[in-house]
Symmetry: C2
Subunit: 424 residues, 2 copies
Amino acid sequence: MSASRFPAPVSAVALAAAVEDGRTTAAEAIERSIAAVEAHDEMLSAFVATSFDDARAAAAVSGPLAGLALGVKDIIDTAGMATEMGSPLYAGNRPRADAPVVALARRAGAAVIGKTVTTEFAYLQPGPTRNPARLDHTPGGSSSGSAAAVAAGLIPLAFGTQTGGSVVRPAAFCGVAGFKPSFRLIPTVGVKCFSWSLDTVGVFGAGVADAAYFLAALTGRDLRVDTVAPSAPRIGLVRTHLWEEASAEMRQAVETAGRLAEAGGASLVDIDLPGLFADAFSAHQVIQDFQAAQALAWEYDHHAAALSPILRDALTLGRMLTPADYDRARRTARQARLALRELFADIDVILTPSAPGAAPEGLATTGTSIFNRLWTLMGTPALNVPGLTGAGGLPLGVQIVAPFGRDRACLEAGRFLERQLSGA
Amino acid sequence: MSASRFPAPVSAVALAAAVEDGRTTAAEAIERSIAAVEAHDEMLSAFVATSFDDARAAAAVSGPLAGLALGVKDIIDTAGMATEMGSPLYAGNRPRADAPVVALARRAGAAVIGKTVTTEFAYLQPGPTRNPARLDHTPGGSSSGSAAAVAAGLIPLAFGTQTGGSVVRPAAFCGVAGFKPSFRLIPTVGVKCFSWSLDTVGVFGAGVADAAYFLAALTGRDLRVDTVAPSAPRIGLVRTHLWEEASAEMRQAVETAGRLAEAGGASLVDIDLPGLFADAFSAHQVIQDFQAAQALAWEYDHHAAALSPILRDALTLGRMLTPADYDRARRTARQARLALRELFADIDVILTPSAPGAAPEGLATTGTSIFNRLWTLMGTPALNVPGLTGAGGLPLGVQIVAPFGRDRACLEAGRFLERQLSGA
């Protein structure tokens, strides 16, 4: 199947500037997104539900996000429309309030245009969304609809969440920017919990500067990277103990990204992660599963038959973990976080794969988060940088990781790399 | 008004043993709690709503909490009954799922008997609950109904939450054990958020061993302190920079508690907190208000007129805080957490007031959390130890604080002190 039918991704920065300059109006910009969703989502299946009337009403709100249509992953609460979690258990579930991130986006003028497809409770059971680059490939997950809708040019901005790799991976598979900020930089309140130590709300935009613009507007922090040329970072290339799990073209993509960064003036050193980080990689699973078995205790105890087998099995295994297993995993994570600070002593950011390769064929799985879990556990900012393409026209994403709290450094380095990849 | 009409507090440990031994049945125990609520809650106003049929059905579930009626603070989600947050904005709000702590309690056999009164969104605007020791005094807040219902002997166990002092303070005012575990030992998922860095679910029981028994059943951890005699702890008496804010009888109560602990073999040293901790005390307010302004953004933006003036003003002030203010407060908190570890080098626990004094007269305020906020910010376990009484028959609570993660040490020292206070 061809994907040529979809519009090009819409830059939030460019659209916001056009609204501000009066080259278009917020109302017109929102109507264009509505028209794009109406024209293309039947093919893409990125949306669970739409809220066009709400979106139109938002045109009256001024702010940095005025005119920008926003997709909200369907595990994030929205007042006045259902939040169904990708599960039949939550059909018609109508929370009273917006999640804080949604309320903050509306404050800044964003137009919530609909709820985007999530895997079941943001775990592994896929929804119907297709990859706009090739419709017979997965868009990745769990923020499937958010990544696909931005990549297909239907909307400029979307919210996702990441517990393993649910922002960076679908961004990589679809070829857009997906940014997971430092843990708890923005609240997960009003977001269905899978693991309270890992769940992080993330943002999608056409490019790095667009995602940064969105996060700057949400937080009031100095995170925009579209206004000045980014400086060349000191990069550490981290292959991880999973390098052999990456496809040849992904390994090539990361090496290429490193060379192009060097060509632009960045420094590049190889960094070997100590064995502690392989232990931390494993600890992620223990922490996630132990917490998920509690976070979804009601669903498991009262409605196990309504859960997918893959989720039910994960929760059953999670229940078998002991507090001692969990405490050991938490200690490993803490040690790895301390060790990571030292690793960052002489570099600004890490360059590493966003995923093992391009989006797998078929819609039966959303791929794997093995190149994301460690960074989610570390709580560090992590960014998919789009721009490279593999065989068959599928995007290949590379990942930039910065120290905890250095979200701006992550975005700036990502913007730098993105420009190098595009030859700008 | 006299309080002699209320039954004596019910020990969860004793009742669970009676159920296990066959001296009573779970069904009988639950009926007794139902009868007590029916007889006395009109006077006490501890419950927002009851769920007697659900509670009766729970008699069929075996487990360590079988037969134990449980009150759930009304900011904690319960499936099948409303969760109204102490706010008209949430009248009739019916969440689909139990919060994980509720699901875990049900798994262990607990009988959820009703939702207990909370101040508005667990902030300062009081509900109707009275103090069972003296009906014209506040029970404290924000977990007002939970503390009062346990103290009045209506139920053996209850859930509360603490962001400033909302577990330890009402426990002190009502004369029961109230325990705030280490931050994130048990999940706050499904609990209305005020501040995601501070909100902690806590437990109430008649005495320290009862609260510990409840938490052990919830977590599967070795936290019971009823099975062996507690050993004598090394205690540091911490007056804090707010000592002069405590009443004469409270200062006396803390000194008395220290002397009685020494008489039982504990060591006691005075500890002066460095000035950093006064800064951390102030940082608590910044972090709480900055986060609350985001956590309640939907309520503030869309329904400000339905909020109490005291909450609305706090959220308005919270919105005026900058990310720089917030980051500075977080840095101070982190430094204080590190410094606290050193303070604990030669002691097991801290002894300090639970509140400035006994419960204030009147129901117009719930008192102040000035002796609790620092420990909530530190994330440490904190426990109100009941047993002392001041002028007019009102309870005077003293507080035990242990290092982060040393929940057992906190409970064991609290049990030790409780026995010393009672002359056991």
